[in-house]
Symmetry: C2
């Protein structure tokens, strides 16, 4: 998605540790008109499928998932993080290892909002090692829902998350794949360039 | 907002401790078409002002804020919770007392996304004791931004948050105000009924 590449080039900030910060438009401040176009892009990729539920994880997945859901005219449900209290049989839950924060956290999703009649598109902002997305995949499996595929805004192609998910035969669409981040030169190389 | 009252009556669940759960459409599963109408309702209330930035707090404020921002054609910025690591001079921060979870947490917002040129509408899903909203008000003040007003989807009129904010002379619009929750009868009384 050319507009996304340009946006990352213009507004993204390269930080130490192969980090690209896009918090001016994607995950702290949100450019809502731009996210509308992101939503339509995922819709174009998946419009010939039977998607009827968008699943994501709080917080930064939520605004993107909303725009996708609007195109499909369906509801979003987002997994909640670190809610260890008050959990009951009413929730699917699993554990996720966060490489960014070096800790394990729980994610959960209420059983009443995901089940075998749901054809699920998983949406998230970033895919690096794939920890969050794998957590969501586990929850979809526990719910016996039908997984249609995954959609990620920015995939870091030099980390193994995307490759591992595709290896399982799961459809994964990333709007851009970053192959290299050069902190010194402040340069990002996108796949296909 | 009649549609919202009906939605709460139909889909809301009354739980012990004066809790109304609306997680089938507002803060776990999200009814995106309904949120569009919520966004327009806030726009109607504030359209004659100079709002150019929507500020909210993660997670459940974000989808609502997005719909409001779309009407005003401006960006959203959301305060992040509990991010104590990696904080620097680049963030406004304050502490919030959560009555629901019985704990104090930090909220923060990057300085680059809020400043004296911003005319702010604060948006949140619930207003009870006003802890979160007061935290956001503090951040707006620290940023020397201009506060236009606040918009809340569901105010609990029997808790002091709303009253205290209005007493300060701040404009606060709640789409519905709940005056009473009767767990035994499973009945909600809205203000004006």
């Amino acid at each position: 998605m050319l507009e996304l590449k340009n946006k990352i080039a213009e507004e993204g900030k390269i930080c130490a540790g192969n980090i690209v910060k896009v918090d001016s438009f994607l995950n702290h401040q949100i450019d809502v008109k731009f996210l509308e176009r992101i939503g339509k892009e995922f819709y174009e990729l998946y419009k010939n499928t039977n998607v009827n539920k968008i699943v994501t994880i709080e917080t930064s997945g939520v605004p993107i998932a909303m725009e996708v859901a609007k195109c499909f005219d369906c509801r979003v449900v987002f997994a909640k993080k670190g809610k260890t209290k008050n959990l009951s049989d009413n929730f699917y839950e699993t554990e996720v290892m966060s490489y960014t924060h070096g800790e394990v956290y729980k994610i959960c999703l209420a059983k009443e909002f995901l089940g075998e009649n749901d054809n699920v598109l998983l949406i998230d902002d970033f895919l690096a090692n794939g920890a969050a997305l794998n957590g969501l995949l586990e929850i979809v499996e526990k719910a016996k829902a039908n997984l249609v595929g995954c959609g990620v805004v920015i995939e870091k192609g030099f980390q193994p998350g995307g490759k591992n998910i595709r290896k399982k035969g799961i459809r994964l669409e990333s709007l851009v794949i970053i192959d290299k981040i050069d902190e010194e030169k402040q340069e990002i190389t996108f796949r296909g360039e």
